[in-house]
């Protein structure tokens, strides 16, 4: 998109105007997330920049909201609940999802379209509808307001992501490798673990990351399905936002942003590794 040397004035103006427009849109995308980082260090209980902060006066900044976040039981309990719920939901989603994705990648799967549609549906159905249905149904079977109720619901919501990422890696999977393995005497299980798994691992890991973040950030379903004992971090943030906004929410938000950055970095690493591997494999 470099500007050619022979560009007319109009083209030059448009070229730069376009970049400015894009810059503004990027700003819109990223600024709200970045702006709460300094705000979370506010020494006051305000949600805007105090004069001290604008003058970069150290007195205007403090860690007190973080101190509150890491010491207040109102935030620690939800954090632990989130950390108890998300990994379990991820485990279920990844185990069942990977197995099914391997099944779906076979050459002859009856009703493949229908099955795929059902498995992907938790991602498409609006969360409020899933939440309503689960609330009604889980109430009937006594799972409403229980740890396992929330875990199962979150696992269901995470499964489409696992299916999509793992199927995507299986599409590029060279079937002659499994055939080679079985012709060399490996049983199906051994073939799966030793040959197939290492190759689809990046897909499984990204699926797991998606499933984890789905559960970790999910609020609608847990709001309906959970009871006090399952209050998660997003739930606590939602209540806080709806009722009284304490600046601790911003500290919690920054912690969650850190989690997102970590996830993003992990995914990027997987992607790079994939590209490298793909580059090495002879076409």
């Amino acid at each position: 998109m470099a500007l050619p040397v022979y560009a007319s004035t109009g083209q030059r103006v448009w070229h730069y105007a376009f970049r400015v427009i894009c810059g503004l849109i990027f700003f819109y995308l990223i600024a709200p997330i970045l702006v709460i980082i300094p705000l979370s260090f506010n020494a006051q209980d305000f949600f805007t920049f105090t004069p001290e902060m604008l003058h970069l006066d150290p007195a205007g900044y403090s860690l007190k909201h973080y101190h509150d976040f890491f010491n207040n039981i109102d935030w620690q309990l939800p954090l632990w609940n989130s950390l108890k719920i998300a990994p379990m939901a991820t485990l279920i989603a990844v185990a069942l999802g990977t197995l099914a994705a391997v099944g779906l990648s076979q050459s002859h799967v009856p009703f493949k379209g229908a099955i795929m549609a059902i498995l992907i549906s938790p991602m498409i159905v609006p969360l409020i509808i899933s939440a309503a249905g689960m609330y009604f149904f889980y109430s009937r079977i006594g799972l409403q307001g229980t740890y396992w109720g929330v875990v199962l619901a979150h696992a269901a919501l995470g499964i489409p992501f696992v299916i999509i990422t793992v199927t995507a890696t299986l599409v590029g999977f060279d079937k002659s490798l499994t055939r080679a393995a079985s012709s060399l005497g490996a049983g199906p299980l051994r073939t799966f673990w030793k040959v197939q798994m290492p190759l689809i691992l990046p897909g499984v890991v990204s699926g797991a990351l998606f499933a984890f973040i789905t559960s970790f950030d999910e609020v609608v379903v847990v709001l309906f399905m959970g009871a006090a004992g399952q209050k998660t971090l997003p739930w606590q943030m939602f209540t806080g936002l709806r009722e009284q906004i304490s600046p601790t929410i911003l500290a919690a938000a920054v912690v969650l942003i850190a989690v997102s950055i970590f996830m993003l970095a992990a995914l990027e690493m997987i992607r790079r590794r994939n590209e490298r591997l793909r580059g090495l494999t002879p076409a």
């Binding site: 009937r140 079977i141 229980t146 009871a227 006090a228 004992g229 209540t239 009722e243 009284q244």
Partner: protein, 380 residues
């Protein structure tokens, strides 16, 4: 109307402010709890109110018994949560804090257990019987009262457009010419309709008679229509204080104890409007169908948490009037701020020149109809 008398006497009792030395001896009298569960899940309102419960009797009770308590801040959805839990056959809550009308609804629908007050609760420290001590606050067979509260208005004292005037009449809420700016009101017909009718010229003692007529509700809604565009609607009691502090609104209704926090604790430029504030009760209900161990624990706790001293202690943390007459003389100053609580109490005679009392029976009969009409009106 006996409640009037009771409120009046409660207020008088508050006046002398002779704070007796608070006796902490009740703690040693706590009988052992046999066959009791060792944990409780309590549903309450969160915020300043829950904190007053925590400090006044939950933490002391935990210190004495060593049980664990989990809080669930969803009292504004109490009935829905109870109904879902009952349907699920899995009741996660041991004790639920609700307003008077909700207790009536829970009791009517069999969601709450009926309680024998004489047996379950402690007599007054002055020797009065449970019935006499709680008086009119025993509104039904399921409800164990804690406090009186009132819903009233707070306003910012620094609004330039008001040219130095401050609202002192409930109907100033509807006067957007003199008092321009956004108002916050509860997204519920309760209280709003009563205020609208009072400001539409209905005498306070005829408000429910008018609401009972087919045109009554429409008349109140028509009055509310005049300020509809200037209203931000709230669902949680903490919202109005927040909106006032953030200057999102210039005046708004909320529970008087929440306003106390904004004015006295957070020192915001906010003042209270005491005119036709709406009285109601708040208290405990016990979910129906708890097993024996949990029931024993809840009853053991309730006896402790609603005795004369504990209810008086609660008023040291929040400006609500204890439901027991015998607790009234023990109320004095705020525990941390040392402020006299009287000016902030709904039961202070200065604050009670005009007031409304929530008609629980009318509301529990008509809630469904009026709520549906109100929500349709709100959505249009």
């Amino acid at each position: 109307m006996r409640i009037t008398k009771l409120l009046g006497s409660a207020a008088l009792a508050l006046l002398p402010m002779a704070a007796p030395v608070l006796a902490q001896d009740a703690a040693t009298e706590l009988p052992p709890c046999d066959g009791c569960s060792d944990s409780m899940v309590i549903m309450s309102w969160g915020g300043a109110y829950q904190n007053s419960q925590l400090k006044a009797y939950v933490e002391p009770y935990q210190a004495l018994t060593g049980i664990t308590v989990t809080w669930d801040e969803s009292s504004n959805e109490a009935i829905a949560k109870l109904r879902a839990a009952q349907e699920a056959g899995n009741m996660p809550y041991d004790l639920v804090d609700v307003e008077g009308p909700d207790s009536q609804r829970a009791c009517d629908e069999g969601l709450a257990a009926e309680i024998d007050f004489d047996e379950a609760l402690a007599p007054g420290s002055d020797g009065s019987s449970v019935e006499d001590d709680f008086g009119d606050s025993l509104i039904n067979d399921c409800f164990v009262p804690q406090i009186y509260f009132s819903t009233t208005f707070g306003y910012r004292t620094d609004v330039a457009e008001w040219n130095g005037q401050t609202p002192d009449d409930i109907c100033d809420i509807f006067d957007t010419a003199t008092f321009p700016g956004k108002r916050s009101l509860q997204a519920s017909p309760k209280k709003n309709l009563e205020w609208a009718l009072v400001c539409d010229g209905v005498p306070a003692d005829q408000v429910y008679d008018v609401l009972d007529t087919p045109e009554g509700v429409d008349r109140a809604l028509a009055k509310l229509d005049t300020i509809k565009d200037d209203v931000i609607w709230w669902t949680a009691g903490a919202e109005t204080p927040q909106l006032l502090a953030d200057k999102e609104v210039v005046m708004g209704s909320t529970y008087n104890g929440r306003l106390f926090s904004v004015i006295a604790e957070e020192k915001q430029p906010v003042a209270m409007l005491w005119d036709y504030e709406n009285f109601d009760f708040d208290g405990w209900i016990v979910p129906a169908g708890l097993d024996e161990a949990r029931m024993n624990r809840v009853m053991h706790f309730l006896r402790f948490a609603t005795d004369t001293q504990r209810l008086a202690d609660q008023a040291k943390y929040i400006a609500y009037g204890p439901a027991r007459a015998s607790s009234q003389p023990l109320v004095s100053t705020h525990i941390d701020l040392g402020i006299e609580m009287a000016p902030f109490m709904p039961t202070n005679p200065d604050n009670m020149k005009n007031y409304l009392v929530n008609n629980i029976e009318w509301w529990s009969d008509h809630q469904d109809e009026v709520e549906a009409k109100f929500q349709a009106w709100l959505g249009q």
